[in-house]
């Protein structure tokens, strides 16, 4: 079976020494040859050279070529060993994709390996599990990582594309009632506008603004433990409103910060307690939800007050997660000690005062240590998702460009729909939506057909 060529980062996305970008499929050698500058390839040999995108040098690399069937997937495979560091690895992958590979689906290398007979039967179940669990995660993360305004923008662009496609299609299906003559002028204006909007999205994706990158760090604790104060200290400005009234933070606040070269995506949450206040309750539920998806939890304990049922609930919540416990308010008279908490849960613990900004440096050091020991890591999926989203926006952009070309060449209107729908589908892959019956439904709901 002929397969297209896929690529992904095969190592963990961290600031480690080496990162490997793997390309698999029929065109992998072809793609590698276009971007690799060095000695010609030989099978199963390591080559030293450079990855370049045209004239732009990207990294100094080692490239290994494995012709199928003697490779992990059984297909022609190229592995590019580049310098570690998230930025470089990402850039190499993007270059590979730019030259013709497609971002691999979760578990796709494994799936191909299996389908090409590179694994035995006993591994089949495991393969199925890998695929389904990775997919589930990707699906969840793909949408949840999308920033709200980006998601909204993409939905707007999609609905505009759908509307115009539906109009054209209605006219084609019912030419005696609806005429599409002269519509191309109108469409041209819309498509130009949409092209501009997609371009903007593409630019912002280069700045990493499409999805949230970084270690998802969630600050939890009972009300008035000092979570918002901590966020403000970490960010270095007053982002969260801090009062001494319990339950001040009712929604989820989010900030990106750099700590000793590690990017953290810090999320402040409403204090967790049983509450009758509906608005606060929603905030509490959100806090729990965020915590369950976190890569790292910072649990702020109010050391000046006795542990209560809310603290015990939080302790249970973080038991199986990577977490740091902060004993806050060390500036006040404390009633909670390290030993007391240690009898319930074993996690790194630091005494701090968010108010006096003491102990913060210790926290930073602890986090850094955890990161470089690999205890906490970036979620690889986030990077892959980001690249996948970017590719999708690029695809949509080039489809809309084709619409412009068709309009300029005076092609019949039915050709516009083909590219419009391609753009619609590409953008849908970002928001997790397919075409399905969208077009037919739009036709019926927006336009009056004959008979």
């Amino acid at each position: 079976m002929k397969q297209d060529t896929i690529a992904a980062v095969a190592t963990a996305m961290s600031n480690s020494g080496i990162g490997i970008v793997r390309i698999s499929g029929e065109d992998s050698l072809y793609i590698a040859k276009q971007i690799y500058k060095g000695k010609p390839f030989q099978d199963h040999t390591i080559h030293y050279g450079y990855i370049q995108d045209g004239d732009e040098m990207i990294d100094e690399v080692l490239v290994m070529v494995m012709k199928g069937p003697h490779s992990f997937t059984g297909e022609d495979t190229v592995e590019i060993n580049c310098h570690g560091g998230v930025y470089v690895v990402k850039k190499v992958l993007e270059t590979v994709i730019k030259y013709g590979a497609r971002p691999a689906e979760p578990g796709e290398f494994t799936k191909r390996a299996f389908l090409n007979g590179k694994m035995d039967l006993s591994q089949a179940e495991a393969v199925i599990d890998v695929i389904s669990s990775k997919n589930e995660y990707a699906l969840k993360s793909s949408i949840s990582q999308l920033k709200g305004n980006v998601q909204k923008k993409i939905k707007e662009i999609r609905s505009e594309i759908l509307y115009h496609t539906a109009f054209i299609e209605t006219a084609l299906d019912d030419p005696e009632h609806i005429s599409v003559d002269g519509y191309s002028e109108k469409l041209k204006i819309t498509v130009e506008k949409l092209l501009g909007e997609l371009k903007k999205l593409l630019l912002s994706s280069d700045n990493g603004r499409i999805i949230r990158e970084g270690i998802k760090t969630v600050i939890v604790g009972k009300p008035n433990a000092g979570k918002s104060s901590l966020l403000n200290v970490l960010v270095g400005e007053e982002r969260a409103i801090v009062t001494d009234i319990e339950g001040t933070t009712r929604d989820v606040l989010e900030e990106s910060i750099q700590l000793q070269g590690i990017s953290l995506n810090v999320i402040d949450t409403a204090g967790i307690r049983n509450t009758e206040d509906i608005v606060e309750k929603i905030g509490v539920d959100r806090a729990k939800e965020q915590a369950s998806e976190a890569d790292l939890i910072i649990y702020v304990v109010d050391a000046s007050r006795e542990l209560d049922e809310n603290d015990f609930e939080i302790i249970e919540m973080i038991r199986n997660k990577k977490a740091v416990i902060l004993l806050n308010k060390s500036d006040l008279a404390t009633v909670v000690s390290k030993n007391m908490i240690q009898s319930y849960i074993d996690k790194p613990m630091i005494e701090i005062s968010a108010k006096e900004e003491t102990g913060i440096q210790k926290l930073e050091e602890t986090l850094k240590e955890m990161f470089f020991h690999g205890e906490i890591s970036f979620n690889d999926e986030v990077y892959i998702t980001n690249i996948r989203h970017k590719t999708a926006i690029q695809d949509a952009h080039s489809s809309l460009q084709k619409v412009m070309v068709s309009i300029e060449n005076d092609m019949p209107e039915d050709f516009y729909s083909i590219d419009l729908l391609d753009a619609y589908e590409a953008l849908g892959s970002i928001t997790g939506e397919t075409i399905g019956e969208d077009l037919v439904n739009e036709i019926f709901s927006k336009f009056c057909m004959g008979k």
Binding site: I128, P175, P412, D414, S445, K451
Partner: protein
């Protein structure tokens, strides 16, 4: 009263195929089965209603014209009959791309019915019988015969349900409700219960038709006359184009107005649609005038097409104004339209409700998954339209015959024809309204053109046994010639000679700076194969056609020129879609074993397991189109099947 025990008797003539219903689906089904050599009998509640057109007086239209072409390419009858009985014909969307060109012809209804009946009556192996079927007889999940209202049993090996809108039919306008089929014909009131007892799940749909008005009461001077095309293109690939250049009848265009809408709005409470008297689900694409007025309140007029029902009748069909409003409102509403001020209504508009099935109970061969030998086609399957019905009838008839003959049944896939899209949508997707074909439903529209239906499907028709050797030979020649000619044009260079530049200038085309090929020139929108004749020195196409087929050389020549133009002009798009089809086929050809146990596949999501168990798709491709089955589920299925295959 249905039969009593002592009136039961067994007809000793055994049949291979029983077809129930002689509408557009039934006719194609019966003809296909009989032509494939099977002993076939077709039942109808009235022999006079064979191939009746109870609604609009036309065949074809956007995407429906494609279906008729495909039916013809497979060896069906509809195209041939309409070519003999049309009174006006138009190619719709002629200014658009070739993919959406669509033929639509006004039929002389009476003549259409008569002509099709004659074909049936003279078909070898085919009997016509007027009787209502009340029971499907089965044994161990397999069809063994049918029983009529009078109790007679007809044994058979396969039965095809083509009951149209007749099952428990009810015609409604205002507060009037008649338990009849269309046009006051007898409804079939018993079969539904028999089907239910076989475990078949039924839906109730509705549709409607406008009034027919006496031509003598219409003032045509207030309307716009609509003519047919100057040069008529036939539906059937076998019809000689010269035979269809007839004198054509006209249609007329007028509009509703604010007054019409006011009358309708005022009387909405008397509409059975709004009062709740109608339970069935109606189609969104074919709304009644009252629906249109409510839903598109901002439109102050709607088009109304006045179409002749035939040459020998004064009845005119009022297209665009179907309704189920009470009789007095109908008069007021029609008479508010320009030109209809003095309208005499011959037949009132009405809505009709009927039983049909959730077609997801069928496999793509149109056989019931749970009942061996039981097939169905047409409106019974939840579709609407004569053409959709005929297409399914043909496939059901072919497959019932192939099954009895012990041959592999056919499935047209989504990349091969609108018929494939139609059937796949019906048997895969959930639908709550009668399904109408639309070009936007076809994802490979550029490949599924009405002009190349023969190239897509005639080979299949030939393999099945419905296409003659001669017709097949003609197709093969045609395809050869097209390929050679395209190849030649792509490799024939033209320089910047004066002759070439003069021609380009004359055609308003940019002059050449350097040499190019003829194909490149044809790609320019303002140029075509025909226009380049004088600079194409080696052109011998007509001679080749004469040599290959002396009797039909002209026809062949024009068909080849059309294909060459389209192929070269749209090559880029065509190749793109061909690539997509390649991807599509991969999943489509991965057949899922019948005995697959979805429960044993641990990693499938629960919703996917339920849907897959319920609808049991035949291929991975079909599975991927079931709502509730995600791409991840498909990956899991693929891996599982690989394991299963070993």
């Amino acid at each position: 009263m249905k039969y009593s025990a002592n009136s039961v008797w067994e007809n000793k003539d055994e049949y291979d195929v029983v077809v129930i219903g002689a509408g557009h689906a039934g006719c194609e089904a019966a003809l296909a089965a009989a032509r494939l050599g099977l002993k076939t009998i077709i039942f109808t509640v009235s022999v006079d209603s064979i191939a009746l057109m109870p609604c609009n007086p036309n065949i074809g239209g956007s995407s429906k014209g494609h279906l008729v072409r495909e039916i013809d390419a497979l060896g069906g009858e509809m195209g041939k009959v309409i070519d003999q009985t049309f009174i006006q014909s138009k190619m719709l969307n002629k200014s658009k791309g070739p993919a959406v060109h669509s033929l639509r012809a006004q039929a002389d209804k009476a003549n259409y019915t008569k002509t099709m009946r004659k074909v049936l009556e003279n078909q070898e192996n085919l009997e016509i019988k007027q009787a209502e079927i009340t029971d499907i007889l089965s044994e161990n999940g397999k069809v063994i015969g049918v029983q009529t209202y009078s109790g007679a049993i007809y044994k058979c090996k396969a039965a095809i349900l083509c009951t149209g809108t007749y099952l428990k039919a009810r015609c409604i306008y205002g507060e009037i409700s008649n338990a009849t089929g269309p046009n006051g014909l007898q409804a079939a009131n018993y079969l539904t219960d028999s089907l239910k007892s076989l475990g078949i799940e039924m839906y109730r749909f509705k549709t409607g038709t406008p009034a027919r008005i006496d031509k003598r009461s219409i003032d045509f001077s207030k309307m716009e006359e609509q003519f047919g095309d100057e040069k008529v293109v036939p539906f059937s690939f076998t019809t000689n184009p010269e035979d269809v250049q007839i004198e054509q009848a006209s249609c007329w265009l007028t509009y509703t107005n604010e007054k019409t809408h006011e009358i309708i709005r005022k009387n909405l409470d008397r509409s059975p649609l709004f009062s709740g008297m109608i339970e069935g689900t109606g189609p969104r694409y074919c709304p009644s005038i009252e629906d249109k007025v409510v839903k598109f309140a901002d439109k102050n007029k709607h088009q109304v097409f006045i179409e002749p029902e035939g040459l020998d009748t004064n009845e005119m069909y009022i297209g665009g104004m179907s309704s189920s409003l009470p009789e007095d409102v109908q008069y007021a509403m029609y008479r508010s339209v320009a030109g209809l001020e003095n309208a005499k209504i011959v037949r009132n508009a009405y809505a009709i409700e009927y039983d049909c099935i959730d077609a997801r109970q069928l496999s793509p061969t149109l056989e019931f998954k749970k009942i061996d030998g039981l097939y169905s086609g047409g409106q019974f399957n939840g579709s609407s339209g004569y053409e959709e019905a005929a297409a399914q009838g043909l496939i059901a008839g072919i497959n019932a015959a192939l099954k009895i003959l012990g041959k592999e049944q056919i499935v047209i896939d989504r990349s091969e024809g609108y018929i494939g899209v139609l059937i796949d949508d019906l048997v895969t997707k959930e639908s709550h309204e009668p399904y109408r074909m639309m070009t936007s439903r076809a994802e490979y529209r550029l490949l599924l053109r009405q002009d190349n239906a023969d190239q897509r499907l005639t080979k299949i028709g030939y393999k099945v046994g419905l296409i003659s050797d001669e017709r097949y030979r003609y197709l093969l020649d045609k395809q050869d010639i097209i390929l050679c000619e395209v190849e030649r044009l792509e490799h024939t260079s033209v320089g910047t000679s004066k002759e070439v530049q003069d021609l380009l200038e004359k055609q308003g085309s940019t002059l050449l700076n350097s040499g190019t090929t003829l194909a490149e020139l044809i790609r320019r929108p303002e140029l075509s194969y025909e226009v380049l004749e004088t600079i194409d020195k080696n052109r011998v196409l007509l001679e080749i056609c004469r040599e290959k087929n002396p009797t039909c050389a002209e026809k062949l020549y024009h068909e080849v020129v059309e294909q060459v133009n389209i192929y070269i002009k749209y090559e880029g798009y065509i190749k793109r879609q061909e690539k997509q089809v390649e991807q599509f086929k991969k999943l489509e050809t991965k057949r899922i074993p019948d005995d697959i146990d979805y429960d044993s596949i641990k990693s499938l999501r629960i919703e996917a397991v339920q849907k897959l168990k319920q609808y049991r798709p035949i291929s991975i491709g079909q599975a991927s189109r079931i709502s509730g089955v995600s791409p991840a589920d498909i990956s899991v299925l693929l891996v599982f099947m690989e394991q299963y295959g070993k």
